[in-house]
Symmetry: C2
Subunit: 279 residues, 2 copies
DNA sequence: TGCAACTCCTTATGGCATAAAGTAATCTCT
DNA sequence: AGAGATTACTTTATGCCATAAGGAGTTGCA
């Protein structure tokens, strides 16, 4: 389930996101005292989504957590989409906003990716907020600013950095998503990863007896499965996803490194001085 | 006989996916002739999802396209989730199943990524099928087999190839997703990308007057925006996503290349000859 | 011929977002 | 002080959704 940005009044949603003074509930002091606030509602909504997932996030569920009906929320928030945008931007505030660049961009990007990964695992529903038309809230920009401050160190030009940012996000989000989705599947069905895989692969062998002759490369791939460490109780899909994250990140960083070196050569060698940057 | 959670269903779903003979509708020839079939239903469902998106895929919508009620489908398919799995595996059959390896793995992976990208744009709903616990249908395995046949050429060992596969998928899916989501947003809201961006950025400047001092790196990034080619009418979020796909893929392939070279060195100098890792 | 097996329909049930309208609380203005 | 305006929140209703339950009609085999 992908959740789209609220499509209502763009001005109102921007004002809510950036906390423009006059836009709160208390404008004229006329009617009864507001018992809630946008912040309280957003917090409650995040709590619901963290606990039970995006699918369980309903206006009613949030209202009930605050001792109200679902409809009460519409006094503060124009619609559910807008609420999700607010949740998204609020959650983003948790992310660290600067990284040590002493050792260069590479360890900094690694830390950034690690923190982002953990953030997604902490708030799986964030991965279901559409990326195409960004929310454009303050914390989204802080996050972007943070990553850009690291990537500036590569010396790559803006056009390339833009794509590197996109690539990093696609990768981290995708890797984290396999973890959150497998967790969701486990709790939703009540069947843990190991049991699921055992049942399915046994069934597969039964239903498709010639499996390994039909798919020799898959057979080769599976031949490699290393047993988990004794003391590691992580479900195996999560373990796989984690390894993909680690190895994939290194590959990605090697790729960026190659781009940096190429750009460095291009920049340093036109004048003539034989460029031996880094290493 | 003890039935594990989901196991009975698992057998049925595997039989449906792999088209096990006895599992079709016509077993005893007793009642009225079946007017539909799983295949017809799956095709109709794909047509609905292609045309109106995953959100519009309801049992009723599929039934109506076939001149039935929504409930009629439950005779053929146990539930909506199963139908989606069948749609997924069926759609996957469109993908090419082998690639020319004359010129090595790199151009082959590039073609593969390109084809996969186009496939996702053709069937945006596919990106909403969870990846964590794979469907394990025949075409999913064909797809995997195809990619593995290419990656075997790298000479990397299975453990690494497994991660490379994951990384490639995360990347291509993520990049394609920004396109499909921005298209969906455009049709859902009726506001095209350009207009959306113009409205929002004007609003942003109004609501946050000190934007560019607060976010200098973002300012730097935006300074770079190249105007689109005269004859290019692609919405700009799509254009951005496409560039990210192209540049990101190259970066990724450079990273894989580095891994291959490293592994090659490791293999060639195992005995101890002080391996001067790259350059 | 009659029943079992089968397809497909109608009719709940309980969920969802949200529109519309009602109730009660609290302010400002007279 | 009292009236009207304004606001918070509730109730009710609309029209979606998946799917459970049960019923109607069709067909082939005993």
């Amino acid at each position: 389930m992908v959740v789209f940005a609220g499509q209502g009044d763009a001005r109102r949603s921007m004002s809510l996101l950036w906390r423009v003074p006059g836009s709160g509930a208390a404008r004229g002091g006329r009617g009864p005292k507001p018992g809630l606030s946008v912040d309280v509602i957003v917090d409650a909504a995040i709590a619901v989504a963290d606990a039970d997932g995006m699918a369980a996030l309903s206006m009613r569920a949030v209202g009930e957590r605050l001792g109200r009906t679902g409809m009460a929320l519409y006094t503060y928030v124009p619609n559910k989409g807008e609420l999700v945008d607010l949740m998204y931007d609020r959650a983003l505030a948790e992310l660290p906003a600067d990284y040590d660049l002493e050792a260069g961009w590479r360890p900094a990007v690694t830390s950034w990716a690690e923190d982002t990964w953990e953030f997604y695992l902490r708030h799986p529903w964030v991965l279901q907020v559409s990326q195409a038309r960004p929310v454009l809230g303050p914390n989204e920009y802080v996050m972007l600013e943070t990553l850009l401050a690291i990537l500036r160190e590569t010396g790559l030009d803006a056009a390339v950095v833009r794509r590197v940012v996109g690539t990093l996000f696609h990768f981290v989000r995708g890797a984290a998503q396999t973890v959150t989705e497998s967790r969701e599947a486990a709790t939703a069905t009540g069947v843990p990863d190991e049991e699921w895989w055992q049942t399915r692969s046994a069934l597969l062998r039964e239903v498709v007896p010639d499996f390994f002759t039909r798919f020799p490369m898959v057979a080769w791939l599976e031949s490699d499965t290393a047993p988990p460490a004794e003391d590691d109780a992580t479900p195996f899909l999560e373990r796989e996803a984690r390894r993909t994250f680690e190895v994939g990140l290194d590959i990605l960083l090697d790729g960026i490194h190659a781009a940096v070196r190429r750009a460095g050569v291009a920049v340093l060698s036109p004048a003539g001085s034989a460029a031996g940057r880094e290493e």
